[in-house]
Symmetry: C4
């Protein structure tokens, strides 16, 4: 009887994901532009687009950190089957769309009312939240289907799962708090960048370390 193809090594999926991350993060720069300027007023025109520069810098850091975390997660995921690929693709679909709410935030800071800003930042954080759900789904699915590399400590794996959940909660909180204060919401979105500086735990069991 013919079998089904065994799960493939996850490295190609990781390389594809790296590509999407690299492109999405670089495309952010396309929204940084001046809308024309009168002779002698370039400096003022650049000053006027500070929201675009700010939105660019903040989102570049956030997406860069999500990439780095994703890269760290796939250190422990050894194989990929079809469902894992689709979950990861759905997560990438959120990342690739992030430039859209980024530009909404920048435009609403310049031309919008307080309500517009709240909507923009809520969308911005909400998309990070949905992406985070898929991110966590990738991890949970990989754990349940035993797609992790060998030699990991089950207790550490569980702890890591909870660690990943924290991000989702933070982004959800930011999406809700956007209607109270957009700056508090943005600060929450940036929190995970700072949190990323905390060294991540070694998931390997004691006897699997070199």
């Amino acid at each position: 009887v013919a079998g089904i193809a065994p799960p493939r090594p996850a490295d190609r999926l990781e390389a594809f994901s790296d590509g999407v991350f690299a492109i999405a993060i670089t495309l952010l720069a396309l929204d940084v532009r001046v809308d024309g300027f009168r002779p002698g007023e370039l400096a003022a025109a650049i000053g006027a687009i500070w929201p675009r520069l700010l939105a660019y810098g903040v989102t570049f850091l956030i997406v860069g950190q999500v990439w780095a975390s994703h890269h760290g997660m796939f250190r422990w995921i050894g194989r990929a089957d079809h469902v894992l690929v689709l979950l990861d693709v759905a997560m990438l679909g959120c990342i690739a769309l992030q430039p859209f709410p980024t530009s909404l935030v920048a435009e609403s800071l310049r031309d919008g009312t307080g309500a517009d800003r709240a909507v923009a930042v809520a969308f911005y954080s909400g998309l990070l939240f949905v992406g985070g759900l898929f991110y966590n789904a990738v991890w949970r699915y990989a754990v349940r289907r035993r797609l992790l590399v060998d030699g990991l400590d089950p207790r550490m794996v569980r702890l890591q799962g909870r660690r990943y959940s924290v991000g989702v909660v933070v982004y959800l909180l930011a999406a809700l708090l956007a209607f109270v204060s957009v700056w508090v919401a943005v600060a929450l979105d940036l929190l995970l960048v700072v949190g990323y500086l905390v060294p991540s735990p070694d998931l390997r069991a004691d006897d699997a370390r070199p």
Copy 2:
């Protein structure tokens, strides 16, 4: 007598293909934008572009699935000669163009008549169909020229070829049915994403499995 250079390993062609897939899929997001908004009306402006968000999500899933299938196909293709490279490049030319009909579908949903929508979805599905033809040509050519990896079961290889043909037929059907119902056509286009969840068969002969 000087010989001709033997077929090269296919891994570089696969990496190049992965790059084009990753870029094309990420560029889809460039068409998700609001066309300006009046102060206080950002939420409404976002709501008004639901066709762009929908078209983005659907196409991201479809192109992501084609990438995953392509990646699966090259698991069995070991070497590449000049003709195979050009066939694959032609297939990539279709994928890279997919954002164009995607935006046509989105715009026709907002501003077009029923006839416009049919044209847009027929083009959309038709491009997937043409890409599928080249996709199948890559496989058939690789089989005929013995560019596959060693140890595959000829019967399974033939079955896999038929499996790939199904996609082309589905896309052709979608292109034709677009003139009856655009939603049925889109559903057909999405069918292969669902079908992808069916685990793909192991093409190796019994004695070539580890």
Copy 3:
């Protein structure tokens, strides 16, 4: 005495080049768009941009073939020093710019006079010519500085150099003939795609083949 760093393996330069090729070729699609359409007239609007679709298809094939040739050339180049890197970067600068004359050709076919078309196709072919000069400079420099892989037949290496020169001559001819007939010029530009189907010679000396 401190030495200077020896030439590095060329694989990273090749991967970077592959990336630029993949992005440039995919960005070509950004110029395929309709300039808006009136309700009920989408099919006509698509028909009206046939020059953009044609220019896209032709250039995708040409850049795809240059990528494939470049990939073939680096099969024989084993190491890269600083000068080789800059020559390759200059060549990539031409490839990355190719979407610009591509759009000029498309626009001049729709809205331009015969003189505009000649200028556009001459620019298009001229850029391929300049890129071809750098392409040949990469090969010649690699040969002269002994950056090739070991075991190549010097006679075959010389022949290959002449083969690469042919492309430059063809592109130069196309640039000049554009002022006589744009279609002859485009046909010449496409000639190398067809020529690519001729299997390339094995440059290894007899005793270096497996």
Copy 4:
């Protein structure tokens, strides 16, 4: 007691960086376009955008050289921890933004006053300067945290650090001199491309060379 995950090999970070460099350098071409042309005047329209072509060529060379230097630097960096990743991401954020001041320079050359040009070139050079600071931070951090590959000569490593500092000083000088002469500033920005042709030193200790 659970440990923390040891620093990872730096090759994935380098591949991600290569991706961002390749995309940013290719996106430069998006700003090379004519703003429409009247029938029969395409040649004049191309001539009128010489600042865009010049800015494209200069920036392509500069970013290409920064990539090549970065690639050379990571030859000696063997491992990456969380802080190194964020420093590198911040550097990439500057590189990815470089197309913005590039277009400002091009536009100010065409439509701006002398003051506009000074502002644009100062921004252009200033962004290279800030990117250079992060570039140096990556190196210094890697040295201090012992993330380099084994077998390097400490004296040579120190010398290399000073070499990298030179670039930052040159870019800072260019940013300041932009207010005196934009052409002197651009010449300074290009200086490092020429300087790159000087072979870089071998950092390995005598007994670590093959």
